[in-house]
Symmetry: C2
Subunit: 284 residues, 2 copies
């Protein structure tokens, strides 16, 4: 039986509950992070912690748990659930309070929930096969750099992709790709340049994005951080996405059109390999 | 002690909980309605039920409880909590399931939560005094006609208003007012015409909006459903908002500038009076 962390306690799934007055439930007033686990250890915990604090600050929430305590809790979850490979999901909300659009008093105890999910990350079938992507209008709110639980549109977009026989969707604002439903989006031009959307409130500042761009730099691949169109993507040599749990995942088709040879490209494969290598080295 | 409805049971506040795996908590994958209560009876229950079904359909959710059962539950809540004046908050989510952007199986049991809030609606101080409003950029998602619990931006906007000594905010997209944080927005021009944003995915199709516009028609007041600018609002003769729990609420100041004489206007007052009268007549 999986043990879930809820406000200082480790509970069975059945008992892992929050108040119906929790602002995470009533107002989507919560922030989350997903940290991947390889070999029973955490990948880039520091990066996820920093972004958690940044997201919370953006919506005027302050974390009332120390980094060390949060790390200890993550490790407890690993041990209690014998997790070797997969992820830890963490969510912090503004806490439970009588329903009101105005924030509750600042001393309201935040709700902290975390749980594990077992998942085969390295030997992923999707990585071997590559993903089929459709493009959809980006209908999300204007602060996509803040990792809130307002995930209904990405969820709807994912279902839309599935209903069309694809795996996922890339979102588009003003005719330009922003990012995937739960990942950052990249293309490799015919000149071998990696192009990915520049950081702004329109996309999430991916922890894996940062690490993978560093890997690319180390490989002396040219990088352009800028917007690109679906047409540019369709004519690219390669395409891929990155996220904490998919690492680097090749994209082989966009809106029904094969990318390059219609199979995972060499740059995506190389970056995936190196990213996993580096992650295993630095995992804690 | 208040009794809360959670999935068929009436529970104490302390025991009113939902799973941490509830999609309302993890993905803001839920719809809500607020029905006001006057004289121990429900105002426009039919309208709220219809919109609930419409919102749910828009995100591919199907209500698995009958209208009669929902009405009976609302009445139970009134009786169990001896509620005479206030509101009943209702939330339906896609239910609890292992976390995944893809929807859970369609037969996953929806989560249904409802609770009462006591509130003096008719003798409201705000209605006597009138509201001070600021204008802010509308950063919400693109499907504001669907009443989801993705309410973080309205909540942030409300706090922003308060920090500036105002009561609430009107949101603006492309320089045009859409609506308030949790209400529809209206102005009365110097020619005595009521102007309010036309229905579209940019605003909520207010149940009270519909009823109040009917009251205005009955009074033979001319109505224009169209977008208006903050400048037009600032130079209006009157301004007001409508919502299920505020009915018609005069606005006396926008961005620091007094509207008309800086006091509740006669049309807003008249509409409030008639709306309350009609509501008391048709309450069930």
């Amino acid at each position: 039986m999986r043990e879930i962390y809820v406000n200082g306690q480790y509970l069975s799934e059945e008992n892992a509950k929050v108040s119906v007055f929790d602002r995470g439930f009533l107002f989507a007033d919560g922030i989350y992070e997903v940290t991947s686990v390889l070999d029973g250890r955490l990948i880039d915990f520091d990066g996820h912690f920093e972004r958690l604090e940044r997201s919370m600050a953006a919506i005027e929430m302050k974390l009332d748990i120390k980094k060390e305590a949060l790390l200890e809790m993550h490790r407890q979850l690993l041990v209690r659930n014998s997790l070797n490979e997969g992820l830890i999901y963490l969510q912090v909300t503004r806490g439970a309070a009588e329903r009101d659009f105005a924030f509750p008093p600042v001393n309201t105890k935040k709700t902290i929930v975390a749980f594990t999910q077992e998942k085969s990350l390295i030997k992923s079938k999707d990585a071997k096969r590559g993903l089929k992507i459709i493009t959809l209008e980006d209908m999300r709110w204007g602060m996509c750099d803040v990792k809130t639980v307002q995930l209904l549109y990405p969820s709807l977009a994912k279902m839309q992709a599935k209903s069309q026989g694809a795996d996922d969707a890339w979102l588009m604002r003003d005719g330009l790709i922003t990012e995937g439903t739960s990942n950052n989006a990249y293309i490799v031009t015919n000149e071998g340049v990696i192009v990915t959307r520049d950081l702004s409130p329109q996309i999430l500042s991916g922890i894996t994005r940062k690490a993978v761009l560093q890997c690319a730099k180390d490989l002396q691949i040219k990088i352009e951080e800028r917007a690109f169109t679906p047409e540019e993507a369709a004519n690219a040599k390669e395409a891929f996405v990155t996220s904490a749990t998919t690492f680097v995942m090749p994209v082989i088709e966009i809106d029904g059109k094969a990318i390059g040879k219609g199979e995972p490209g060499p740059i995506a494969k190389k970056l995936r390999e190196i990213y996993i290598e580096e992650s295993l080295k630095s995992a804690i």
